[in-house]
Point group: C2
Chain length 111, copies 2
């Protein structure tokens, strides 16, 4: 799995990981706080964060005993550019984005 597109797209393919990214849009978060809304173990969330980190979608910085997670949207750029080749999508449409976010986070955050 050498191509960065592989890791980025496969990281995005999991609903838990997309929900985490959405949470990190709001603010940087500690691992424990990221895990809080989900119904799975902390270790599972830790693994998901590792996948997101390997894809470059987040960075993690340890301060004290807390590891902070930060969104790194640049990693999405390559994937976004790749996709845009397939349909001449209109530029940023934040209304539509809000609707998708609600669909992701509203009814069932852990997918």
């Amino acid at each position: 799995m050498a191509d960065p597109l592989d890791t980025v797209f496969s990281a995005l393919a999991d609903p838990t990981r997309r929900a985490i990214l959405s949470m990190l849009l709001e603010d940087d978060m500690a691992v424990t706080d990221v895990a809080d809304p989900f119904e799975m173990s902390l270790a599972a969330i830790s693994k998901h964060l590792a996948v997101l980190g390997a894809a470059g979608l987040i960075s993690q910085e340890k301060r004290g005993r807390v590891k902070w997670c930060k969104l790194e949207p640049d990693a999405l750029r390559a994937a976004s550019v790749w996709m845009q080749g397939f349909g001449q999508f209109e530029p940023v449409n934040l209304d539509a984005f809000e609707r998708f976010l609600e669909g992701e986070l509203g009814p069932d955050a852990q997918g």
Copy 2:
């Protein structure tokens, strides 16, 4: 795996499938012709096409004994909108897209 974003992103996570989509950008193709440049069996390509079809990224129509595959870029729209929320990416950048296409298809088409 109910969310369409799951199926679209996980379909895009495989380099063979992305290469197939790139080929279908040029023109509609029969299954055998899609399989031709790859070093794997026809059955494997048939499975990949099924995954792309399930994600709505292609459609397949049988005419005679030949099944034609057609790109369906609309399925990418939801994913594209979702991603654009994470970075205010600039609108279509076809130069960058060309570079990525070459990276995908040039050195080693079967990834």
